[in-house]
């Protein structure tokens, strides 16, 4: 380690070096790929290496502007985004409130219901719901017919997608609102009550206004996540001919011959929509200051629900059944049935039609084992690599006075506005043109995932760093420790569980990711979501269901095991 003396030049270099290195790195992860996409969207030929360079054109944007299907895609994406967000917010907020601030029976079940669907990937959710809700052969329609209800469910519609998004994005809303509610100081509410406010009035005037920032944040985050989501709109939108932005981008890329420049332009357009939304949210929250979390210890008050207690319980249980139970039932049916044809409700329980073949044959199906292996490798590498990168970035931003550190944070948060498909496309163009043979390796997936989940990873680690007061580190430095030593011996042990928790998040998010890898995989580097998606496109429904079941079980076990381990180590790390 260099001592803090030396010439002015080395001092300057040392001041600038960490930020510059990180910045170069982040630039290659985020800015170059997006730049390549922008570049491609203005050319009349794809930026394929070796092929003649295209010339500048605005044709792709003009084509987007005049294309009826693109306009439909934008309209549908916005509609689905709004509807899905509204439903997710309703479910998530209600569960959060029930789980943190009321005396609902089975509170731990309510809290469990609030987050458990997060670990079912939206791809699996969409595949399962396509089995349940397809207009003719869907299980729901078989049941409705048997009950004599003249109603047809069609999940291949805007309403169907709103429903599925609402189910699987509710946990995001839950996480935001639940933490805000449980951290809220009850003094204000108590004061209002002392002055004669009724429960309903206190809730309306005090409780909910206080969680507005969390709710707004959740609303826009959820909205942004939904409009860029590719698996759900691909699986549920394309059979019914419901055009959406992500599916449109994807189809431009895979149609034969492909239209990569138009796809790039459409990707850019989706990105612009997201930039506008996120900027709007940042503006909105920047105007006022919302301090609800103080250093004082308190217990959040529980509201007595009275005769509504069991209604709250039923709501949480109902959500759990619809979001997890029904898909699990559908996937089990599809995985175990010899023939996918169901003539009536009796077939659901006709055990003679069942066989474990589709599950057992996975042993002999090389893409499955390969995909599983790749998924775990990529997830683990993304966790380790992302964890280290975000720790360095967050430390530089919050604990040093290095010049340009705010820019670092800005770049780290930038992928919030970049659709996963765009990251995939950008990486494809970038690494086909850079003479480093990354394309076709698992490493390119690791880098793409790191870029994709940078905001989550960076936020996770920086918020834990912020929890440790600077004093501790500074006292170490006053006592003669170097900055690096102070960081390693004081800060890192204190935030260890926060880092692990973020790494686990990165691991799980990577295991679920389809959109960022769909343009980057080669047959050697197929990950499990790709293998699963392949089953759907090739119409192997029973194998698709079998893989979905094993994949979801794996995600669930990992999450539960990981959180359990973290819960214990986190508690012990706190004692000294």
């Amino acid at each position: 380690m260099l001592m803090p003396t030396g010439t002015a030049a080395t001092r300057r270099l040392r001041r600038w070096l960490p930020v510059s290195l990180l910045l170069i790195f982040l630039t290659f992860l985020v800015i170059v790929p997006v730049g390549m996409l922008v570049y491609a969207s203005f050319l009349d030929a794809p930026p394929r290496p070796g092929s003649p360079r295209g010339t500048f054109t605005l044709e792709h944007f003009r084509a987007l502007y005049t294309s009826r299907s693109n306009l439909l895609a934008i309209r549908n994406s916005l509609l689905i985004g709004l509807g899905g967000t509204a439903m997710a917010m309703f479910i998530g907020t209600l569960l959060a409130w029930l789980g943190t601030r009321t005396d609902v029976p089975g509170r731990s079940m309510v809290q469990f219901a609030g987050i458990v669907p997060l670990f079912m990937s939206s791809l699996v959710g969409a595949l399962a719901w396509s089995l349940v809700g397809s207009p003719r052969a869907g299980y729901a329609n078989t049941v409705l017919e048997a009950l004599g209800i003249p109603l047809t469910v069609n999940i291949y519609s805007v309403g169907g997608m709103v429903f599925v998004f609402g189910l699987y994005y509710a946990p995001y809303a839950y996480l935001f609102v639940a933490s805000a509610l449980s951290l809220m100081n009850p003094e204000l509410e108590e004061a209002a009550e002392v002055h004669g406010g009724s429960i309903a009035r206190v809730m309306r005037r005090i409780t909910f206004p206080l969680v507005v920032p969390a709710t707004m944040g959740a609303f826009i985050l959820t909205f942004v996540l939904i409009i860029e989501n590719f698996p759900v709109v691909q699986v549920l939108g394309s059979p019914g001919g419901v055009e959406t932005m992500p599916a449109y981008i994807f189809r431009l890329m895979i149609s034969a011959p492909s239209r990569p420049n138009e796809a790039s332009a459409a990707g850019l357009l989706l990105m612009l929509i997201m930039v506008v939304l996120v900027t709007f949210q940042a503006r909105l929250l920047a105007k006022r200051e919302y301090v609800t979390v103080t250093g004082k210890g308190f217990r959040p008050r529980r509201i007595k629900l009275g005769r509504w207690r069991w209604a709250g319980f039923a709501f949480a249980l109902g959500y759990l059944v619809v979001a997890v139970g029904v898909p699990f039932f559908a996937l089990t049916q599809a995985a175990l049935r010899r023939s996918q044809f169901i003539s009536g409700i009796g077939d659901f329980v006709d055990l003679s039609a069942f066989s474990f073949r589709s599950i057992t044959s996975l042993v002999d199906y090389p893409p499955f084992s390969l995909g599983l292996r790749n998924t775990i490798i990529v997830g683990a590498l993304t966790a380790v690599f992302g964890g280290a990168l975000h720790l360095l970035t967050a430390y530089t931003v919050y604990r040093t006075n290095a010049p340009g550190r705010k820019v670092l944070e800005y770049v780290a948060m930038l992928p919030v506005t970049v659709p996963a498909l765009v990251i995939g496309l950008g990486f494809l163009w970038t690494w086909l043109n850079v003479p480093i043979p990354l394309y076709g390796t698992l490493l390119i997936l690791v880098l793409a995932y790191t870029a994709r989940f940078m905001p989550q990873g960076y936020r996770g680690i920086s918020s834990t760093i912020l929890q440790v007061h600077k004093d501790l580190e500074e006292s170490a430095q006053v006592s003669g420790a170097s900055r690096a030593r102070a960081a390693v011996t004081v800060v890192v042990p204190l935030i260890r569980s926060g880092i692990f928790s973020t790494m686990l998040l990165l691991f799980i998010l990577s295991m679920r990711e389809l959109s960022a890898s769909i343009f980057l995989f080669t047959s050697d580097t197929r990950v499990l979501p790709i293998v699963l998606y392949d089953q759907w496109t090739s119409g192997s429904y029973s194998r698709m269901a079998a893989i979905s079941l094993l994949y979801s079980a794996l995600l669930c076990v990992l999450t539960v095991a990981g959180r359990k381990y973290l819960g214990e180590s986190g508690a012990s790390a706190k004692t000294p």
């Binding site: 731990s108 985050l221 890329m253 034969a256 492909s258 959040p300 474990f356 050697d524 090739s538």
Partner: protein
């Protein structure tokens, strides 16, 4: 962007205050049970016939008395040891074919599978960067084959039994061979449609009975669907497209899913690929296949070796083997599709052989015209069927 507090994961402090303790032991138990079951039973798969292989050290490769490779090529291929195939052919069938090749020759195959359109994008990109990973390529759609050929990507290789094949199944200089000739016709769900009611002609498909109850693949998906669009327009005029569109069919993104949707009962009838239908039916799905009286389209998959292949000899051997009677027999068995070799057996559905290839009234598109009209016709088809893009 400091006000962007977007956090998906609850951090530790918040988490503890939520006292979250999931009690989910069920998934673990299920996983364990599934793993147990998986180890207890064996797996199924397409049964590929055995063959009499003569492959002596330093000698030629002879299978069922047919010389597949001379001593020199065989030794060189064995030296290379393996090859990479980029294939748009359905994966299960492709893997079964490649496995039989490995069993016969001892040479390993790595399969890179993607829908043909995506695969071509990848081939052109990789070749442009001088890093094409493929030793051999199998794709459908002569327009795309031509676009790859124009980049000089294909090698010229004459297979030993080239004379066996009609001219339309081989490139004059050996840049491609039609290794398999799948056909398109009608499938129907036998639980929903009786044999008498099943459509028999292209006219029957326009019967109001099938309105809203008919599945087909979008015309631009690949060779399978464009062969249909081409045939319908050439034989019956563009009016046929209009009438078919008026049937309000479910338009699926590829032909691969038509059979499964038909089997589930999502639609009663489908304009479908005979091979996929037979594979599913042989697997117990309630499906039957009909060759339309007035013609079934053929969409060959073209197999080629690449010019800059890292394993050129293994690739040539793969071509020779695939086009030998042995390779053709394996292909027709694994894919339940027709193959161009005149002596190869016909595919079967539930142990009943399909008619001989000539009897199904196969319709071949004119390759030059196909290449010329493809892009425009697909666009027109999209606008007529209200399909995007």
């Amino acid at each position: 962007m400091p006000s962007l507090r977007m956090q998906v994961w609850p951090n530790r402090a918040k988490e503890r205050s939520m006292s979250y303790r999931p009690k989910a032991r069920t998934p673990l138990a299920i996983l364990a049970a599934l793993a147990l079951l998986a180890s207890a039973c064996g797996g199924g798969g397409a049964e590929v016939p055995e063959a009499d292989v003569e492959a002596e050290e330093g000698g030629p490769l002879v299978i069922e008395d047919e010389e597949v490779a001379d001593a020199e090529l065989f030794a060189a291929a064995q030296e290379e040891g393996s090859l990479v195939v980029y294939s748009g052919f359905p994966e299960t069938a492709e893997l079964a074919i490649q496995q039989a090749f490995t069993d016969d020759t001892g040479i390993g195959v790595e399969n890179v599978r993607a829908p043909t359109g995506q695969l071509v994008e990848r081939i052109l990109s990789e070749a442009g960067a001088g890093e094409l990973g493929a030793d051999a390529i199998r794709i459908s759609d002569i327009a795309l084959v031509t676009s790859v050929d124009e980049e000089g990507i294909y090698a010229e290789h004459m297979i030993p039994n080239a004379d066996v094949y009609d001219d339309q199944f081989k490139h004059p200089e050996g840049r491609w061979y039609a290794s398999v000739t799948p056909t398109m016709g009608f499938s129907y769900n036998t639980e929903l449609v009786s044999e008498e009611d099943a459509p028999q002609s292209w006219e029957d498909m326009l019967n109001p009975e099938w309105q809203g109850n008919l599945c087909l693949g979008q015309a631009g998906a690949g060779g399978s669907t464009f062969s249909l669009a081409y045939f319908q327009r050439k034989e019956f005029g563009i009016e046929y497209w209009e009438q078919l569109a008026a049937q309000e069919p479910s338009i699926l993104s590829s032909t691969a899913t038509v059979a499964e949707e038909n089997a589930r009962g999502e639609c009663a009838v489908g304009i479908n690929h005979q091979g996929t239908t037979a594979l599913l039916a042989n697997d117990g799905a309630p499906l039957q296949f009909v060759f339309p009286e007035d013609g079934s389209t053929v969409w060959p998959h073209y197999l080629s070796a690449t010019a800059e292949a890292p394993n050129p000899n293994a690739a040539k051997l793969f071509l020779n083997w695939s086009m030998s009677l042995r390779g053709q027999t394996v292909t027709t068995t694994a894919a339940t599709d027709y193959v161009p070799h005149p002596e190869a057996p016909t595919p079967q559905l539930n142990d009943i052989s399909f008619p001989e290839f000539d009897e199904i009234d196969p319709y071949f598109a004119d390759n030059d015209e196909w290449v010329e009209v493809r892009a425009d016709w697909v666009e027109e088809w999209y606008s007529l069927f209200g399909y995007t893009p």
